[in-house]
Amino acid sequence: MRRILAILMENEPGSLSRIVGLFSQRAFNIESLTVAPTDDNSLSRMTIATKGDDKVLEQIVKQVNKLIDVIKITDITDRKHIERELLLVKVAAMSDKSRTEVTRITDIFRGNIIDIGKQVYTVQLTGDAEKLNAFINALQNETEIIESARSGCVGMARGDQALRI
């Protein structure tokens, strides 16, 4: 089952490699991983999307927690939470038809065309993984996808709950 883990850790050299090393060492799966410093520059916030049964997940959470740099980890999957991912996709826009279709689909998904080249459009879309997949599918039906980049998801629990020190 797919799980979203939110991790708060020291923003120090080596911290990221410890997490990544742990996942590969123990044969845990990483679907996506995002990391960046938080508003407090001494901390990094990481979101990992992973897969595994309950037993594996329990081990992942415990093993990550055991790393000295890690302050907190929570599995937000079963809580009310927000999950967002950013997609940049460059599509062929050579004909009038493809240009209109790309614009139309982008509007429907509330994306933005953020750059245009001679024969390409670059579109930005945010949403959860499912929405991004649907968007890519829709584009594929109308035109050719030249390049795409996804950020991997970031997640946060809804409401008052907060992952902080």
């Binding site: 850790m9 020291e10 050299p13 080596g14 490699s17 410890r18 090393g21 060492q25 037993k55 329990e58 081990q59 415990k62 093993q63 927690n65 055991k66 000295i68 740099d69 890690v70 302050i71 020190i165």
Partner: protein
């Protein structure tokens, strides 16, 4: 007032002094010469020069296992540091605190494939508790102090501190400040067990009909054997130890039913299999204990006490997990048991012990010695027990001799049995024994080893000479990689692929060449006399090479893929 300034190398030594370090085990080289120069100019800390960095790690490790003090290793960058990898992994697997100071090329060269540059932090990442990469002078005392704190608290383990050359050299100086009262916001190991869980555990224990206490290395590491003994005597239940936990309770205690697991006693494994409640204390359900996890004690309620949450429900699901220091939790349990006026059901208990005694009567830990036959390795261990009156530090290598030592030398006290249980590192025994002898020069320190293992760090005979470390080396010489050979006999149709040694050296001459005493024992009738002679030579290292029966197998032995209590008792005889 001007503050005094120090070089990074001086800071390393001052930091170690501040942390009350007595010995550094190491080997010099380019990147750490400044530290060696600083060591030379002080006399608070003694440096022990080994002959191979792996031995430095094992020596530090042995020192730590015997004393409880954190061992310190110093190695140069590149090959010096990578030579430590096996020793770090060995310490990691057995949760031994260790601080490894590894030289590194200058910060400006890092990443350039400079001479003797190895990413030692990267190399060791999966086998350490934590690591520090120092990049400035001010990092040094902080990193070393934190390294000690992290290594020795919670579930202990090795910590690597990387020290680039340019922050050690005399041209760079800075003020020295060290904080020894460490707090790390992201690291707060549990100490006390959750009171609700303690209550649940005490209740479950009260209702148990067939309780077994199963304790491991955690008891030894936290010096909790007195408390364990008290708890076990309160419970009146049988207790078994893991290979790492031997000595946690006296090996001659009447409630002790022997080691469990692959080469454990029948009574220990049978008791586990038939228990209705298992109280696991500082043990981790290693695969060498459980045998087939699918078949492991299906009817038992498992109470698992461990400092490391990842050890709980990793292989075997715990019904009552308790995270905390094992000594603290045992005290909590004792308090709770007394609060609920615990007293075991005598009728049930006596039935349980009757059953256990039937298993005991099988005498699964036994062997046959014919007077005209070659010496049985088990007999050698028994003789050692007799001669040292069970009061020696026994360090072992890895193989059949290790199992014979564990089975036939009942340890009265913790920290007396020193072996590489988790990693199973051949070559561990001699340097570990040297570390113990350094700490306890007046005690009997034995290295029980094999003809294979001893050759993996035999160069340390030279270190023993230099520092006068008269350990007694006893090689159970079966002219083969016995444990490998045993598996080949049992599983591979007797095909002895690369498991024997056709070019063994004359160990007596080897010992003599290094300036020690060598004794060879061939016949059973001279065994005790010559061993006694060896122990009477107090001021010199004695290497006793005992020719033992090469055909002997270690029994009992769990049958692969079977339940915990499915064992071979002898060749062709199942439990």
């Amino acid at each position: 007032m001007t503050t005094e300034l120090f070089t990074g190398a001086e800071m390393v030594v001052k930091s170690l002094s501040a942390l009350k370090v007595k010995y550094i085990f190491g080997y010099p080289g380019g990147s750490v010469l400044d530290i060696y120069d600083a060591i030379f100019q002080q006399d608070e800390i003694e440096h022990i020069l080994v002959r191979h960095e792996q031995a430095a790690t094992h020596m530090a490790d042995g020192y730590t296992r015997a004393t409880g003090e954190v061992g310190v290793v110093l190695a140069t960058s590149g090959p010096g540091a990578t030579n430590c990898v096996t020793g770090i992994a060995t310490a990691y697997m057995d949760s031994i605190p260790m601080v490894v100071l590894a030289g590194q090329v200058a910060t400006s060269l890092i990443g350039n494939d400079a001479f003797q540059e190895t990413d030692i932090v990267g190399c060791t990442r999966p086998i350490i508790k934590h690591s520090f990469s120092c990049r400035t002078l001010a990092d040094i005392p902080d990193a070393i102090s934190k390294a000690f704190y992290i290594a020795s608290t919670g579930r202990p383990g090795p910590v690597v501190v990387e020290l680039p050359k340019d922050i050690l050299i005399p041209q760079n100086k800075g003020p020295f400040n060290i904080e020894t009262d460490i707090k790390i916001r992201s690291y707060n190991p549990n100490i006390k067990g959750h009171s609700k869980q303690i209550k649940k555990a005490a209740q479950t224990i009260s209702n148990a009909k067939r309780l077994v206490v199963y304790s491991g290395g955690g008891i030894v590491l936290s010096d909790a054997s007195e408390l364990l003994t008290k708890l076990v005597e309160t419970l009146k239940a049988p207790i078994t130890n893991t290979l790492m936990g031997l000595g946690g309770i006296s090996g001659t205690h009447k409630q002790f039913i022997g080691m469990l697991g692959m080469h454990g006693s029948l009574e220990a494994n049978k008791s586990m299999a038939n228990a209705d409640v298992i109280l696991a204390l500082g043990a981790r359900f290693d695969d060498r204990v459980t045998n087939n996890v699918e078949k492991f004690c299906p009817n038992a309620t498992i109470i698992h006490v461990d400092i490391d949450p990842t050890s709980i429900s990793k292989t075997i699901n715990a019904h009552i997990p308790i995270v905390g220091l094992v000594d603290v939790v045992m005290q909590q349990l004792l308090d709770e048991l007394s609060d609920i006026n615990f007293s075991p059901d005598e009728a049930e208990l006596s039935q349980w012990w009757q059953q256990i005694n039937l298993w005991r009567n099988v005498k699964s830990i036994s062997y046959d010695q014919d007077v005209n036959e070659k010496i049985k390795p088990q007999r050698v261990v028994e003789a050692l027990y007799k001669i040292t009156q069970g009061d020696a530090y026994v360090c072992s290598d890895v193989g059949q001799h290790q199992m014979f030592a564990a089975q036939y030398y009942p340890f009265a006290k913790p920290r007396r049995w020193i072996n590489s249980g988790g990693a199973g590192t051949m070559g561990f025994g001699l340097p570990a024994a040297m570390g113990v002898k350094l700490a306890f020069p007046d005690k009997h320190v034995i290295c029980i080893t094999g003809d294979g293992s001893i050759q993996m760090n035999i160069q340390e005979l030279s270190t023993c000479k230099q520092y006068n470390l008269p350990v007694v080396i006893v090689t159970l010489n079966n002219r083969s990689l016995g444990m490998v050979r045993q598996w080949q006999d049992m599983v591979y149709g007797g095909r002895h692929s690369s498991s024997y040694m056709e070019s063994l050296p004359d160990f007596v001459k080897v010992a003599e060449a290094y300036g020690h005493v060598g004794i060879q024992i061939d016949n059973l009738d001279e065994l005790e006399e010559k061993l006694t002679q060896a122990f009477n030579i107090k001021d010199r290292l004695v290497f006793v090479d005992v020719m033992v029966d090469e055909k002997e197998h270690v029994y009992p032995m769990q049958i692969r893929t079977g339940a915990v209590d499915e064992m071979w008792l002898k060749k062709g005889v199942k439990s």
